[in-house]
Each structure stands twice: as structure tokens, then as C-alpha cells.
Amino acid sequence: MPGSVLVSLLAVPLAALLWRALSQNFAAHIITHSAFAALRISLVTSTLTTFFTIIIGTPLAYALARWPFRGRPLIELIIDLPIVLPPAVAGLALLIAFGRQGVFGMWLGAFGITLPFTTTAVVIAQTFVAAPLYVRTARVGFAAVDVQLEESAYAEGATQWQLFRHVMLPLTARSLLSGAILCWTRALGEFGATILFAGNLEGRTQTMPLAIYLGFERDLGVALALSTLLIATSIVLLAVLRWLDHSTPDQ
């Protein structure tokens, strides 16, 4: 069966990597200083990215799902674009815009704000590539809610916040959580935009994928251990996503 070829292509390298990592004193490598620093930077930045994305992306997703405002197709295009763009393009675009010599970056510089090579830049790079996944998922979730259910609550005297809190949130929590997990996973794996826009400095901008890439030239053991950690995290998150998809829907 030809399908098994593809499945093997996907499974064999990952299994080989895990086998190699675990046979090479995984524990000793994961507790090295650089591995720990990369882990910390990755967790902090991807969590911040997800947090900001939820705060800003949720109202946006709601607006896109509900309000037929002018320019909505353009906004939808802008949101979908980073999903298909190579991350290196994202990184370059961020540099051109927010770099020290960038269009917007020069203006920020006038206020003493410099973004490139900072942890903030890591969060911005991650948000650029990961936020669209949340907004898309949340938009689909909001769009699936019966409009009349909202109108009914509005007719009963709900404020916008009460509407969201008591009607929309219970019905879309599953979609929002799925979107947040997708966003978080993507942020955790972000490499191309980060290395271009934020650079690579241990303890400041070096995330796990960057440490893995540089570990290739340095200490393969650390790269293998971090890769294993990322694979394990991804498996757990995918399992949660599956569970969210399969448990009985609310509406």
C-alpha cells in the first residue's frame, strides 16, 4: 500500500531522532545551561504570544465572524497571508518595518524603543506567524454560533460583555482553546522569523528551535534533547486538540 510509504517517511525520522536522543543521555543534555535557557525563553515568549493573541485576536475574530464591515476581505487576506508565507519572509518584513532602520522602527527609535535583538522581538515574530492560526480558528467558532441565540440574549437585555461571557464563551470555548493551542504550538516552533528579526543570543532571544539549529554545529546532544522535548510537547498538545474535537459539542 503506497500510503504506508508516506506514513513511514513521516514516522521513521522522528522515531530515529527519539531513539538517538534517548540513547545519548537525554537527561544530562537537557539540564545543560543552554538547554535550560532556551527552554525558559521559549516558554515565556510563546506563552506571552498566546496571551496577547487571545486578548487582541478574540474581538477581531468575533468582528470578522459577525460584522460585514467594509474591507473585511482585505483583513481576512492579511490574516491568512502569514500562514502560507515562508517565515523568512516574515522575518525580513518585520526587520524592514520594525528594524532600527525600518520604516516604523525609526519612528520608535525616536522614543528610545529598539525592537530587534530583544525578547520583545521574539514575541512579535511569533505573534506574526502564530496569531493568524488563533484568529482563524476563533472566527470559525464564532461563525458557527446561531446568530439568533445572540439576538435572543440581547433581546433579554444582555450587554456586549454579558453576551460574550454567558452565551458566546460557553459555546466557543472549545474553538478558542483549539486556536490557542495551535497558536502556542506554532509559536513554540517558530524559527525563521525569529532568527532574522530577533537574532540569536542565549538567555535573551535564543528559543528552543534556534538552540536546536545552532546545536547542530555545536553539541548534537543538546539539539537532540531539545528536539525530543519539542516532539513530546507537540504530541501532548495534538492529543488535547483531538480530544477537544471528539468530545461532544456544546451546541
Partner: protein, 240 residues
């Protein structure tokens, strides 16, 4: 004579360049049951949505109990009217949670109000049942209870019995009549069932293509309508 509860003047609602509703003049009297009949697409639901602040008219003015409705109506105005829709819109929670929903929105302690209103809709003791697992008629009565529990000044009914069996239709009609008689609630109901209009309403209006072509006391509407199209409709002969 009291001032009317709702007054519409030159109200036009235009979607994509087409006027779906064009009402020159309509006064809904305080404490009356007004039935709006008409075929599908005549603008009945749009009228109710305007009366419940779900839409703002493209042109014209609607006065709610003496207050012209602004473009962005304040919450205390919105909370004086409510709608029961054709499909019961219930939260996936217990009957009690559903009925007390409007009270919790207003930070009002439910106290005895939930049990009281459930008693009135014939669902006494059903507080803990899962609302979405009830029969269609029971669900619609929960929806009605949700509307009644907040003691609205205006109750708007959008084809509330269209999907129900005769038993539940009768039950809901008697609840609506009782609400009007005991509480003096102003009720506007939209239906395409002329016989329901005849049973319940004090006055009946006929909407055709967005225009209110007849508005008369019920007896007059059915016995001596001015407009010939209303006569056809009143006999239940209009095909739609």
C-alpha cells in the same frame, strides 16, 4: 386616553437598496395585543426587530413609551422589551439557569420568581431538567418563561407557535392572554396564522411587501376590512 406605547413615523428599513419595511404611521397602544399578519417576507420580523432594538431604521423615527429610540439605545431602554422567537433559543443548561438568565443579567436575585413563572407556563418543578432535552412545546414554554420572568413592558412574539402541536399552541395562547390581562403587558405578535390573530389580538395589522395596508380592531379586520387584499387574507384564502 393614554399615549401609545410605540409610535412609528415614516419608518423605512432598506436592505441593499430595497425597502423591506415602509411604515408611514403605526401606534401600538399601551396594554393591547397587536397581531401583525402577512405572508412570509412581508417585513413582519423586521418590524419586530426594530421594536426590540435589534435593528435601527434606515429612515424615520420610533418612539418607545415617549422616548425616541436613539441610534445606540441605552441598556435600561433595551431591557424594557424582549422577544420570543419562533425557534426556542435556550442555553445548554438547566431549566432554572435558562429562566433566571435574564434576572442574572440584571443582577436581580431570582427568589421565588423562577418557580412562580414556571408554574404559570405549566412547568412547575422542572427546574433541574436539562432545557435542551425537553419536547418542542416545553422548550418554547421555557423560552416564554425566560421572557416573562423579567417582567417586560413590551413582549414581542415572532411566530412563537409556528412549530407546535395544537395542545401547546393553546397553552401558549392562554399564557400570553393571561400575561396581557393580569400585567397589562403591551404585546406585539407576528404570525401568519390569521386564526391565532383572531383568537388573541385586540387589533390586527396586515403587512404586504413592507407596507401596512390594513390596521383595524380584530372584529372589523375580519368582518369588514377596508382593503380587498385584507379581505382575502382574513378568510385565510391567500396563498403564501
Amino acid at each position: 386616553m393614554n399615549r401609545p406605547f410605540y409610535r412609528l413615523a415614516n419608518v423605512k428599513q432598506i436592505y441593499n437598496g430595497r425597502a423591506v419595511l415602509d411604515v408611514e404611521n403605526l401606534a401600538v397602544e399601551r396594554g393591547e395585543i397587536l397581531a401583525i399578519v402577512g405572508p412570509s417576507g412581508a417585513g413582519k420580523s423586521t418590524l419586530l426587530r426594530l421594536l426590540n432594538f435589534l435593528e435601527t431604521p434606515t429612515e424615520g423615527e420610533i418612539v418607545f413609551d415617549g422616548t425616541p429610540i436613539p441610534r445606540d439605545p441605552p441598556l435600561d431602554l433595551i431591557r424594557r422589551a424582549t422577544t420570543v422567537f419562533q425557534r426556542p433559543m435556550l442555553l445548554n443548561r438547566s431549566v432554572r439557569d435558562n429562566v433566571s438568565f435574564g434576572l442574572s443579567l440584571r443582577n436581580i436575585a431570582p427568589d421565588g420568581r423562577v418557580a412562580d413563572v414556571l408554574n404559570r407556563v405549566g412547568l412547575a418543578g422542572m427546574e433541574t431538567a436539562a432545557a435542551r432535552e425537553l419536547s418542542g412545546g416545553e422548550m418554547q414554554r421555557v423560552a416564554l418563561a425566560r421572557a416573562l420572568v423579567i417582567r417586560p413592558d413590551a413582549l414581542l412574539l415572532d411566530e412563537p407557535t409556528a412549530n407546535l402541536d395544537p395542545y401547546n399552541v393553546g397553552l401558549i395562547e392562554s399564557i400570553v392572554r393571561e400575561q396581557n390581562e393580569s400585567q397589562g403587558t403591551t404585546i406585539v405578535m407576528v404570525t401568519h396564522n390569521v386564526f391565532q390573530a383572531r383568537r388573541l389580538a385586540h387589533r390586527v395589522g396586515l403587512l404586504l411587501n413592507g407596507n401596512l395596508i390594513e390596521l383595524s380592531p380584530t372584529a372589523e379586520f375580519f368582518d369588514s376590512p377596508r382593503d380587498p387584499r385584507a379581505a382575502v387574507f382574513a378568510r385565510g384564502e391567500m396563498a403564501y
